[in-house]
Structures are given as C-alpha cells and as structure tokens.
C-alpha cells in the first residue's frame, strides 16, 4: 500500500510521430495535490491493450505513474479520453526532461 506521504511521480514519454523524436515530461506532486492527480491517474485504463489508430506517423506514448510501491506503466497508441487528459496535464504542469536522463544515462 502506498503511504499517504509518498509523492506521486508521473512520467510521460512521447515517441514516434513523423519526426520520430523522443520527448519526455515529468511531474512530482505530494499531499493533497497528489490526491487530486490520482483521480486523473485512476481514470486511465491501465490494464487494457493500447488502442492502435490507423495510418502512420502518429505519436506513441509511454506513461508511468509511481507512488511508493504502486508502479503503473502503459504504452498508449493513441492518446484519447482520460489518457489524453492525463498526458496533457503532465505536459502543461510538469517539466520537460531529456529522455536520456530518465534512464539515468545522462550521456546517452
């Protein structure tokens, strides 16, 4: 069980698109703010297979939400509905980070 004081960290990694560029955004929140974000997180269908959209060059998303031992990850083909809402909030309220820094390999 996550402890109420554990911060909530959400990381969104965008890949694909015509450019094939990898971009990432990250946000860390705690306390009441984390509870508010959790409702956005819980609204997403984490266990379901990603919906794939027709065509080519669409964005592909990897989303991770961690609070204590609660670690949820998903690959999202097309960001619609609650996924879109969560991803846009992380992009807006969080900070852009270098994808290479996420894996702890700053030189990559």
């Amino acid at each position: 069980m996550p402890h109420p004081v554990d911060p909530l960290t959400i990381v969104v990694v965008r890949s694909g698109g015509f450019a094939g560029l990898r971009r990432a955004w990250r946000i860390e929140v705690a306390g009441e703010e984390a509870d508010a974000w959790l409702s956005l997180v819980d609204a997403c269908p984490w266990g379901e297979d990603p919906a794939s959209a027709p065509g080519a060059d669409r964005f592909s998303w990897e989303v991770e939400a961690v609070r204590g031992e609660d670690d949820r990850r998903a690959v999202v083909g097309e960001a619609v509905g609650p996924w879109s809402e969560l991803i846009q909030r992380v992009q807006t309220d969080g900070a852009a980070v270098r994808p290479a820094d996420l894996s702890g390999n700053a030189d990559a």
Binding site: G16, G17, F18, A19, G20, R22, G55, A56, S60, E62
Partner: protein, 352 residues
Amino acid sequence: MHAIVPPYLLARLAAAPAERFPHAVAAARATLAVPRAYAPMRAHLDLSVDGDSLVVSAAPDPDRLISDAENREELPGEPARAEGAEATGDTAVDEAYDGLGATFAFLWDAFERVGLDGRSGSLAATVHYGRAYDNAFWDGERMVFGDGDGEVFAGFTRSLSVIAHELGHGVIESAGGLDYSGQSGALNESIADVFGALADQHHRGQTADVATWLVGAEIFTDAVTGSALRSLAAPGTAYDDDVLGKDPQPSHMRDFVETSGDNGGVHINSGIPNKAFHLVATALGGYAWERAGRIWYLTLVSGALSAAATFAQFAAATADTAASEYGEDSEEAVAVRTAWASVGVVEDAAPR
C-alpha cells in the same frame, strides 16, 4: 510517350475519326472493351503536330481539397481550398496545396501512377491541426499537419519531402500495406522517406549525386542544431542538438535498435533500408527515381510483399525486381544486391 495509356485517353482515341487513325482507334476500342473499373477524373490533353504525326500526350490532374482544422484536433475541418481555386493567402493551406500537386506530378511522371490508389486524383489534407501541434501524420485517408510549436518545429507544410512522405504512406497502404511495427513498420517508414526524397529531387530536377538526400530539411527552427530530420545518405547525422539529442538512426544491421517506443523503432531502424536505397541510387547515378526508385516502386506494388515483410524479404524482393526488369547480371541488379550486403541485411553480394 508513357507505356501505360490511361482510360480517358483511350476514350478520346476511340472516338477519333477511324479513317485518319485506323490502327489507333481500333486498338483503343478493343482495349476499352475489356471490362475495367472506370472512375472519371480530371486530366489534361496536349495535342501537337510533329511532321505528319499527331502527337497526343495526356496527364492526369489531381483533385485536391485542403481543409482547415482551425486549431482543433478534429478532422476533416472546414474546406479551405478546392482544386483550381485561387491561393488563399494562408501559407499552410497554399503550401499543402502546392505540395500535393508536386507529389501527384511526381508519381505520374516517375511511375505512371495516378494518385495514391493508382486511379483517383483525390488528395485530401488538413492543416492547422491542434494547437502548436508538433506532428504531421497520415490518418489512413488524409494527410494531417500541425503548425509546429515554433520552438523546435517551424511548420511542416513548407517541406515537400514531408508532404510526399505522408502521401507515400497512402501509396503503401493502397499497395497492400506494411504492418506498422518492427521491421515491416521500418520498411513502411523507409519507403515513405524514399517517396519524400524522390519527390523533392524530382521537383528540383536533381540527380542522385547532387541531391541532399535529406527529409524534412525545412522544418526545424534556427534554435535547433541540425540540418534535417533524417538523412538517407548518412543516417544518424541529421541532427545533434542539446535538447533533441542525436539522430538515432542506424545505417547497418549490426546497429539495429530494439525499443518498445515508436512502434518498435519504425522511425529509427528505417535508416538501414534508407541507406540501402541511397547506395543503389548513387551507384546507378542519374535521376534516382528512374531506376532505383522504379525498382523500389515496382517491388512495392508487385503484390509479392507480405504485410509483415522483414528487411531480408524486402531485399530479396527488390533484387528479384531488378533482375526481372533489367536482367540478372545487369548493373541495376548488381547495385541492389551490393547495397543490401553493404548495410548487412544480406550476407554477401555474390551473384546467385
């Protein structure tokens, strides 16, 4: 004169005075009598007299419609410029219109292909998709362009190689498709890049030796350290930027990238077949669409490719096309086998 006579030209010939062109009129009528799906389309005919001969040349015209999503993420958006309409003054609308036209002309001139599906002039695009939307994509029916964020991307419609890349996905889909993940997905991306580069070279009248072989050379802002999104000549060198990182494309199978993102690295590993195409085109010289492009195109539309094709299967199919079109020991067939060996997709270039 093109080898393939389009149906609208046949119809004109069939209706011509038989006493003046007895053989042509009879042949046209016989050809038209064969059942076919016939869709009316725009075209233009040019008639001229060369000595005693009537010279008829015909080319199809596109039927373009550019729509404006007005910064919403909804398709198709409001019609903004239809075929034949005057320029609107909206740069994205007009650039998309011109880019679609240039790509349509390229497909016809290089491959005698009418539009995306081979028989229709319809070309649809939507611009101003979303707010500061950082992408251009093919949605299965139309090309969709964001405006870019202004910080990394200055816009996408300004790049003919981007427009032709997106339309290339339409041609690939119409030809049977290549599954959009792993190696088949990287082939899908690579062939779209080849269409992009070739349409750009065709528009500029460039031969293989002087072409830049860049895709998306116009879309970065000045803030980005990079010349383009991708380089077919030197995959992995298109950009090296403190924010974007370094162009991750490999140019040899030993550097094939395994990743869960980007549908299994379809925009990354496409560097390998991209380099193979560049090697064939530069080995043969001249206009790249005339032989290298033709071999790739005929392989794509041959029906011999599985939707799940691997690099090795595509390599074998292009080698077969080159051999059947130009001869087993032809310069073209040798160039194709040598190129795939050079990028490590096949083991050696020994004649089979």
